[in-house]
Symmetry: C3
Subunit: 152 residues, 3 copies
Amino acid sequence: MSQAVQATRSKVTGDLYAEVQTFYARQMRRVDALDIEGFADTFTDDGVVVHANGERAQGRERMVAGMRANLPRYRDIAVRHWFDHLLIETDPEDEDTLRVSYYTLVTQTDREGKVSFQPTFTVDDVLVRRDGELLTRSRVIHRDTPVELPAP
Amino acid sequence: MSQAVQATRSKVTGDLYAEVQTFYARQMRRVDALDIEGFADTFTDDGVVVHANGERAQGRERMVAGMRANLPRYRDIAVRHWFDHLLIETDPEDEDTLRVSYYTLVTQTDREGKVSFQPTFTVDDVLVRRDGELLTRSRVIHRDTPVELPAP
Amino acid sequence: MSQAVQATRSKVTGDLYAEVQTFYARQMRRVDALDIEGFADTFTDDGVVVHANGERAQGRERMVAGMRANLPRYRDIAVRHWFDHLLIETDPEDEDTLRVSYYTLVTQTDREGKVSFQPTFTVDDVLVRRDGELLTRSRVIHRDTPVELPAP
């Protein structure tokens, strides 16, 4: 990254950092509680999720239907999504739209307390602020894959 | 959560977010160093911890005694508590009392470097600020359990 | 820690907390992408890393050479570094130098999605701000080891 590019990046304020973290803290409590409607409500009406396998769900109705179909996966499993390394980019001309990327680790704990892990992911979100509250407008989930190295 | 409820939630400032994170960063270093007295000092004199199994320890003396009894568990194990998704709620009428909830993942690393995991937990704390420093007044630890789904 | 020591600690502002977290979010994306030169560029020219095994690499050139030699380790592995519990200490007489310590968990995900873990680490950094951007001047990595308990 060139110095020129770095110099034009705007700093993330502490208040914005806390606002975004708090948004995800609430959103993840809902998804981890399998509160499907509550989770969908954290998206805009036309919100879209592109899953790591390429499946795309646009709009709350399709999002809810897709998650409902997947519910049996979570029988007897407590799932938790862990985030790290948030990068928040603001648009100087539109302070109510944010690009956020982050790492995600997903734990699944069974009734005996045994923890297993899904592959790690990196997620790219676009968040918008409506009436003072953040919502997710789009989410693209990337499964982390090995970097290609030159042949040995 | 209704829009009305959301509208009355006060925003967490960046300074408060950093203050709470820093408090936990110090508190967890002490518990992970098995510095029992130092850990107990991060609680109020009448501080209470309710463990996931329902056991309750109130007051620094009982807290110290309980942790001392558990010390043999940590022989040959480096334990680390990882937090995520802090939700900080402030009381507009008492800015020195905070309700904080967070996810916890606990790693145990043995001498060979093998990492194992305790079940995941969600914790509800009440923190109070005394002479400018945060202390834990109460902590309730919940083991994460599967959500009950309707029968298939 | 005495009350007197606590009283003289300066509070970490939200802005500084967000700045440091953002720095690490960028730095870890580079190391996890195996962008060796990009990672080295997040250090000062005379930057030094002391690894948990005692190996020491000073200066970007040696850092790059060391990492390049280790690249084959990451064939077919997606590595991710997860941070937690940042403690940021500022020097009131030099606001452009920071001492930061943090917990690190390192995941390695293979092509099938299986996640494995390196031992946990605690890291002590010195960061400096140059032309408004943070850089790492030194990093000392400690492998977490069991606390020595009195004989049973």
